[in-house]
């Protein structure tokens, strides 16, 4: 009996869903945190080259054109996707009042995923990048990631199917669509750009389609799915409203899926034109998301500060909306404007990728992790500190880059100005944005520290319980004999 109560203390009030998700999420999330650190360090190395072009110029594998995609891909495939998938599995189990289907295969799937990302990052650094943005990983890495996704995706669908709670919450719609959409876009893009490449610019169109579908639609579905779960849960009130959330869902998959083709793309004109129209229409999803946050909070934004996960979630929604409107401004800018080829575009996609999606994932990780282990994070104060570092880091990276991009675009439109001067005009902004990169990196160390200590404490608990159980058994045996 005493052994059972000791077990309860260690697991706290974890539900069956939490217990079944424990090891799968440990693997997916801790690996994700590792890649988060690795990705931001690689990105920082790339940024330093704008301060000193000669910095680390000698080794081929640290040249800007390799560290930049390696860092970004570590961020997307190493951090964003595995943590998104981990949180998706947990949410599907929790919302369905069931346990995770195939927990042990998912543990191995998670390991394989992170191995695949490792192979991909090394591949990009060694010069094996495919050349297609957000699809740089070479085929051997993609094979591992795809095999792993098969396990994770099937586990998600099976978990959904075995749910005990038949009624569906909006989050489940978002996540289920995401589970189906990722293999579709990823296999299409990989096959048509690398396995059986289509001809000429058709490759680039497929690549742009994939990028937009990953970063706007897929990130949108999962990120908003997480936020729409967390808001009512942490505020202890209803989501305002389910209909509005379904509206956002439809706008994303109807219009968001047709975006991403740049206006100067050397392709038949209807393709960028179509993309321009749908980018504007997808703005309805932004309005919807903003309205949901506003109405669920009852216009009282101070409520966000009651929980660090709410702070992350609120910041994420704000970033989603701002990044979306930056995208609309980009497609609507005049014919001679090249904002989409300037730092403005980098700022916008970073705001979407990090300000929105990574922040939503942080919200989810900080909310879910303590439920898995049954105890709060060992250093709870660092969670709030991480928020402030991340928030200021994003703003310090995005605002200077966006302003710098607008300045760059203005100078660029003036053919009298030598290109070298246009390029130099952006350096001050770039250098300020490096401070932002350093701040976000510092935040990542705080998250890593908490995760490491939490796993350590959890394992130590397990060892202690095992020892105590063994001691009690021995004592009982001693009494009996």
């Amino acid at each position: 009996m005493s052994s059972k109560s000791a077990f309860q203390t260690a697991t706290g009030d974890s539900l069956p869903a939490d217990i079944s998700c424990r090891w799968p999420l440990f693997v997916l999330l801790s690996g994700a945190v590792f890649w988060l650190l690795a990705g931001s360090i690689l990105t920082l190395i790339g940024t330093i080259k704008f301060h000193a072009p000669d910095f680390l110029a000698e080794p081929a594998w640290l040249t800007y054109g390799r560290v930049r995609p390696a860092g970004l891909n570590a961020m997307i495939y190493g951090f964003c996707l595995p943590s998104a998938l981990g949180l998706t599995l947990w949410l599907l189990a929790r919302l369905g009042r069931t346990t995770l289907a195939g927990a042990i295969p998912v543990v191995f799937g998670g390991l394989l995923w992170h191995l695949g990302v490792g192979a991909g990052v090394v591949g990009v650094l060694s010069g094996d990048a495919t050349g297609f943005e957000h699809l740089e990983f070479p085929s051997y890495a993609v094979a591992m990631i795809a095999a792993s996704y098969l396990v994770l995706g099937v586990a998600g669908v099976l978990t959904f199917r075995q749910r005990a709670e038949r009624g569906l919450f909006v989050t489940q719609w978002f996540l289920l669509a995401a589970i189906f959409w990722f293999p579709w876009i990823y296999s299409t893009a990989t096959i048509l750009t690398s396995v059986y490449p289509v001809r000429g610019m058709a490759q680039a169109v497929v690549g742009w389609w994939f990028s937009a579908n990953l970063i706007l639609v897929w990130f949108g579905l999962v990120g908003l799915g997480i936020v729409f779960y967390l808001l009512p849960r942490l505020l202890d009130r209803e989501l305002e409203s389910h209909y509005l959330a379904m509206f956002v869902f439809w706008m994303l998959i109807l219009f968001g899926t047709w975006t991403g083709i740049p206006k100067t793309a050397p392709v038949p004109a209807w393709i960028p034109m179509m993309s321009k129209v749908t980018t504007v229409l997808a703005g309805l999803a932004l309005l919807g998301a903003a309205l949901i946050l506003h109405r669920t909070l009852g216009a009282d934004y101070r409520l966000l500060s009651t929980d660090p996960s709410l702070m992350f979630a609120g910041f994420a929604v704000a970033s989603f909306v701002i990044a979306g409107f930056m995208g609309i401004a980009e497609v609507l800018s005049g014919a001679s404007s090249m904002l989409h080829l300037s730092w403005y575009a980098t700022a916008r996609s970073w705001l979407q990728l990090y300000g929105f999606f990574a922040m939503a994932l942080f919200a989810g990780i900080y909310y879910v992790w303590p439920q898995l282990t049954g105890r709060p994070f060992p250093l709870p104060r660092l969670v709030r500190l991480h928020f402030w570092l991340a928030a200021s880091g994003v703003m310090l990276a995005v605002i200077p880059l966006a302003v710098g991009g607008i300045v760059q675009d203005g100078n660029h439109a003036n053919p009298e100005m030598a290109f070298v001067d246009v390029a130099k005009g952006t350096l001050t902004f770039l250098r300020i944005s490096s401070i932002g990169d350093v701040l976000t990196l510092a935040g990542h160390f705080l998250l890593a520290l908490n995760v490491l200590l939490a796993i350590g404490a959890f394992c130590w608990d397990r060892v202690r319980i095992a020892l105590r159980t063994a001691t009690i058994e021995l004592q009982e045996q001693g009494v009996n004999s």
């Binding site: 800007y64 054109g65 050349g131 058709a202 100067t264 014919a335 390029a423 350096l427």
Partner: protein, 308 residues
């Protein structure tokens, strides 16, 4: 009623629609592009890059050049020049006609330029202005033709003579149109810098050939070694701020040579049916090279220019 399956099917259809629209249709359209002819010369375009240039494309891909350099020249519109190709025999009326379309020209000036055909009588005017002026001039027995001139900041910057089109990338794998202009657009860098040696020096020490360049150097594409009894003929001629210790020389590796060859092969200026521009026949270069005398359009109102 359970709407679940219905919503699922509708969502499936919405996602599938984007796949049909932005994957399948572009593939059917662009994926079946064939080699075309330049207009009006009728030369096959594009031709596949040389083997060395194709290797260079792989060096360009492996080192992520596309993260800083785009290959997409934008064009914001099209304007017209009026070019006199034949002054005719009736000199007095031709001069009068030219003066009527471009009153800024004095009689001696007109007499001077009509001896140097082909010459630009009007530059950067609207299509209707150019056509009306051509009619006036041609009525005298002279021959003047409107020339198509693509415009836009990229073109004024000298990055190309027309917009980039899908045909320019027909035989490339992977296509690398780029997404950033941290460095200049390279669609036509082979026209601007046709010397592979320039590209090699630029890759080794960018600021030595482009003062103030923010591009990082690529020393790993080169080999630094002791000068033998005879200096290597392929050693990089270094000068200025790009130097190497005494007794050493810098030899480009095969990757560097391939990359330079690829950069020189980047020449996407051929006039095509879907990206027209006028060039002097028999001389496939940009129209500005026909004759250095060009006179700005006399009746050109700012509203004639469709550039925003």
């Amino acid at each position: 009623m359970n709407y679940g399956p219905l919503v699922f099917l509708a969502a499936f259809a919405a996602l599938a629609a984007s796949w049909f629209g932005f994957v399948l249709t572009p593939h059917l359209q662009i994926g079946h592009l064939q080699q075309t002819n330049t207009v009006p010369s009728g030369v096959s375009y594009p031709v596949a890059r040389s083997g060395l240039a194709q290797q260079g494309l792989q060096v360009y891909r492996a080192n992520g050049c596309a993260y800083c350099h785009s290959q997409q020249v934008a064009q914001t519109g099209t304007l017209f020049d009026l070019v006199l190709t034949n002054p005719g025999t009736n000199q007095a009326s031709t001069v009068a006609a030219i003066q009527s379309i471009n009153p800024r020209l004095s009689q001696p000036e007109v007499l001077e330029i009509i001896g140097k055909v082909p010459v630009h009588l009007l530059t950067m005017v609207s299509k209707s202005t150019a056509e009306a002026a051509a009619k006036t001039v041609n009525a005298t027995g002279a021959n003047a033709v409107p020339w198509i001139v693509p415009i836009g900041p990229d073109i004024q910057r000298g990055w190309g003579s027309r917009r980039t089109v899908a045909e320019d990338f027909l035989f490339d794998y992977p296509v690398l149109p780029g997404s950033q202009r941290i460095g200049p657009d390279l669609s036509n860098v082979g026209v601007r810098q046709p010397d592979p040696g320039w590209h090699l020096r630029h890759l080794y020490a960018p600021a030595s050939v482009v003062p103030g360049s923010t591009m990082p150097p690529y020393p790993f594409l080169f080999e630094k070694k002791k000068v033998g009894r005879v200096p290597s003929p392929s050693a990089l001629p270094l000068s200025g701020i790009a130097t190497v210790e005494d007794g050493y020389e810098v030899i480009p590796k095969p990757e560097a040579l391939a990359l330079a060859e690829y950069l020189v092969s980047l020449q996407a200026y051929a006039p095509l049916f879907n990206a027209p521009l006028s060039v002097a026949l028999g001389k496939p270069t940009s129209p500005t090279e026909t004759n250095s005398i060009s006179i700005s359009g006399g009746d050109k109102a700012p509203s004639d220019i469709s550039m925003p």
